[in-house]
Subunit: 416 residues, 2 copies
């Protein structure tokens, strides 16, 4: 509270032009947006290779680009070494740069205040928070604990985790009160569902990221599905990028991430329900979600994403991430990087070393492509890229992949 | 298509000032909104006692009031007898009224064109549409059928139904194509998920209405939960009314309806997932839906509604509908109609024959209430009404009920 009042005072006195935010998590990003709206020049300093650790890197990259477009400087892989200044901070020195700073906001995470609990001999878990059972009871039968000072159970992995959300704390309170008052109630754990406003974007996630799923030992398939968030002919349709992480073995959803100016929270909530119900992408693909043009496409974005996942799981489409393509290019691997967009789209933005054959002309010009080289097809979102791959495979091309998410997901330098 | 062109032509020629829409379903209402935005004076004539037959009456009533506030005349229980005019329609005569009409739009439902299918000897169901199995195959092994010409399976009741939605038709197409091409895919049926924009309101539903559930023989509990659709301190928070229908025996959700200017479609999609997963309201109440103040309250509206349902199922709150209260008042039943809102709220709108004791004063003034009469408590949304009921019960009052949804759901004349 005092910090918030201090920030407001400095802003009111016009004493905070250059602000450095240390930590690129939820709090750091939310404070960034607030301060930019007050006219501050904001730099985020993040120790890790990406901000928004709750997202996979390519999703975080899109959010970072949006923040940069709003004038925010985002420094990743930067470690703060010291602060400099006379009486008040004037500079933040990282291991790579020195930044002007009239104000510094530390947003490097939260740690539960469990001193009292420790003194009382209550069990503390690996995340330095209180251990509770499903009734929110601590290791002492007469003591219950709720909110940011307790560990939760991850509903996907079944393991303990530490997730601090106001929504979770509210539910904890009710569960504990019910049990204390003799009414049985079990808190089932969390999915890590999160949503955050970042300027004109919404960022959301639930369940495991691709990175976390792999770390847990899952063999995963991923989908990147960009598209308008409602019927494309509606004036209020906005772009939305959805990522699904799916367990190859069980075909069950493991996690979802979404970002863009479009309607993110609805799809993340549907994904959270899919996770809680342990549904497969096949179940999700035929779900009766409500539809009218002002609210969603006839095939909702998450249903399309589920169908892409099914196509991948069933071997109809082999994807490759933009990152892997980039690495292949850097390593001078020999392959055809096939752009099947229109000439006009390519004139606007082209990716280096790509070969342009618009989808409509592909059957006619198919002989221009070598059968002995790998072909990686793409378009703006890789829907036409997928169609191209099907045409090529039907024509006898053996090694054809599609770049996941298309040009939308290409975070490297785009050429004119 | 020709009808749409005809309507556009009449509008362009300024020949459609008074328009009568026959039929108050989805199409009738959507056309009404479009025509009002073009400056027409629109009257909807509906044969049944309510428009929006897909909703329970009290929900439909709220939507009707909103349409009336936008200048639409809504005539229910009116049967069209004839059209009058010279060369073109000039009047619509119902069994009760004669209406001026430069244009009439018939929106009385759709009937599948199954002539060809009948001639081919294919099985036709009770809804006069084609019978298909889960693979979308008709009674002929070599013929598949999809879209508005086929019957669906209701996922709640397991029975055949006829629901025509673009989203369903799209899914049908994929399932049929998959099966025709040798890839197994089963369409699981529909939930009746629907969403519709009605001026500043969104109207949505999924699963069974209270009326339909009762007709199916379910013993149901219902919840009416009005509230802001995101954190109440957010400027973009808008009112949302949610109704849940719950099976008393299994505690499973049977259906949900929502309306208001708030974010309806997200909650209806979450409800649809709850239905498909056959989850109880207990499951739903502890669901990890994504939360941030710009997107939802900390306890999402549907989670609060699920908790109200749990309180009702567990006997902590006994509800009574506004309709039943109204009937008790009409029948001059002896009960205390206890308003626990503030004096200011009561000064603005009061319900007739109500007794005002603001919640904060209830404990002090509890002796003013008779212990031998039934008390029906209410406030604006009946949250304080519920708290009042708990206080009264703890003080020994035996017969206390809470009016579901509070003043928000009172469709009768409100007094100043």
């Amino acid at each position: 509270m005092q910090d918030a009042e201090g920030i407001k005072r400095l802003l009111a006195e016009d004493q905070a032009k250059d602000v450095v935010i240390i930590g690129g998590g939820l709090i750091g990003v939310e404070v960034t947006e607030a301060l930019v709206s007050k006219g501050c020049r904001v730099t985020i300093v993040e120790k890790l290779p990406q901000i928004f650790g709750m997202l996979d890197w390519e999703m975080a990259r899109l959010v970072t680009q949006h923040m940069e477009a709003k004038g925010v400087k985002v420094l990743t892989d930067h470690t703060v070494v010291k602060f400099e200044g006379e009486g008040a901070v004037e500079k933040v020195v990282t291991d790579k740069e020195t930044l002007a700073a009239d104000m510094v906001v530390m947003a490097i995470g939260v740690r539960p205040a469990v001193g009292l609990a420790k003194d009382a001999g209550l069990a503390i878990g690996d995340f330095r928070a209180l251990v509770v059972d499903g009734t929110m009871k601590t290791s002492d039968d007469n003591i219950y604990a709720v909110g940011d000072c307790v560990e939760s159970k991850d509903r996907i992995t079944g393991k303990a985790c530490y997730m601090t959300m106001g929504s979770t704390a509210n539910k904890h309170g009710r569960v504990a009160a019910n049990n204390i008052c003799g009414r049985k109630d079990i808190f089932p754990g969390v999915l890590g569902s999160t949503v955050c406003k970042v300027f004109d974007f919404t960022v959301g996630r639930t369940g495991l990221t691709e990175a976390a799923a792999k770390q847990e030992g899952y063999d995963v398939e991923v989908v990147l599905a960009p598209g308008p968030d409602r019927a494309h002919f509606m004036e209020n349709a906005k772009p939305l990028l959805l990522k699904l992480v799916v367990d190859k073995k069980t075909r069950k959803l493991l996690g979802a991430q979404a970002t863009g100016p479009g309607d993110v929270d609805k799809r993340i909530d549907v994904a959270a329900m899919t996770l809680a119900a342990k549904m497969t992408v096949d179940d999700l693909a035929n779900m009766d979600l409500c539809y009218a043009p002002p609210y969603s496409p006839a095939m909702d974005n998450i249903i399309t994403a589920a169908n892409v996942a099914r196509n991948k799981l069933d071997g109809y489409i082999e994807g490759i991430s933009a990152k892997e393509v980039h690495e292949m290019k850097e390593a001078k691997k020999d392959f055809v990087f096939l752009d099947v967009r229109s000439q006009a789209e390519s004139d606007e933005v082209r990716l280096s070393n790509s070969t342009l054959i618009p989808l409509g002309a592909l059957r006619l010009r198919i002989d221009e492509l070598p059968k002995n080289k790998e072909i990686i097809a793409f378009c703006k979102i890789s829907l036409r890229g997928y169609e191209a791959a099907l045409i090529l495979k039907a024509a006898g091309f053996k090694k054809v992949r599609v770049m996941d998410g298309g040009v939308v997901m290409w975070p490297y330098r785009k050429e004119k």
